[in-house]
Symmetry: C2
Amino acid sequence: MPSRPPDITMDAVYTKPGYLFRRMQQIAVSIFVEECREFDLTPVQYAALVAIQTHPGIDATRLSAVIAFDRSTLGSVIERLESKGHIERKPSAEDKRVKLLYLTRTGGALLRAIMPAVDRAQARMLAPLKAADRKMLMALLAQLVDLNNEVSRVPLRAEDALEHLGKAG
Amino acid sequence: MPSRPPDITMDAVYTKPGYLFRRMQQIAVSIFVEECREFDLTPVQYAALVAIQTHPGIDATRLSAVIAFDRSTLGSVIERLESKGHIERKPSAEDKRVKLLYLTRTGGALLRAIMPAVDRAQARMLAPLKAADRKMLMALLAQLVDLNNEVSRVPLRAEDALEHLGKAG
DNA sequence: TCTTAATTGACAGTATACTGCCAATTTGAT
DNA sequence: ATCAAATTGGCAGTATACTGTCAATTAAGA
């Protein structure tokens, strides 16, 4: 036996879920940015804008729960959205710590305008698959993300996180 | 009609592939880091180490093609792996521009030692699904990533990228 | 050969993500 | 009422990712 094959091959990477998830995320972001180039909005900024429109007057901590972001990361995202004029930060009357987030008129207009591009991007990500496979993949992925929700640093808390806002419940 | 419902709900985010891919990536990295904490190695660093072991003497540009990384990102990854003593960078004799990458003994030992933890992490990511669903999800995802390969900035080039190294072909 | 192309590695700048820390503030327990 | 605990936003530091640029070097063409 002259030549010993390496203990590990690249299949130790390529076929594993971790690698495929990372790769797919790279591709998804790439497609999103490409389709939405004219609006100068990243996927994360888009999600934040939608959440702020859906929950006007939300604060940063609750926003992070609603879109499952890290709070530290969110700070800079909010700052960028504010400096672009898409959102406003107003101090709360009841709690001097919090700053409430609101969409501006231009932010709302941007959100309406960008929708078709976002839809195109989302469609392109799955385009190579057959319709039945697309459906199956999304169903399995939604299930897996939900069942693993508690794992990441910021689990998704969706609407229940908003009951202190006096808007729900 | 007193109260007009918002034009957009959070389903414009939650149910979309882009969001699910990002969320799943977050979760996968979180699990990997948790399982491999004692080895102080990130998913990206792990992939790079495996690729360097599989292709000793590879250069940074080809490495980026083999693991589908951005070359700019890879620079700092390599630097970190080198400063931890896991890899070595040696100047090439033929081409004064390139620096060839080799695993060190401690790098090889680390790779062998970390394997069980990596396997545990990969298993945990899919653990909430039934066996048949795991298989289905991986098959669909592998297919989708492959069919979208050309989209991202650094398409995966796998082994064909190495034919100039005088090792293959 | 000489000029142009392309390649390689490095760097600057921006944008997620995460860990961990901090001060100001609010809440809860006593 | 007061002190401890929790919350909020912010910051420093690290690690991917990407865009774009650059100098050194090599390869290719006229």
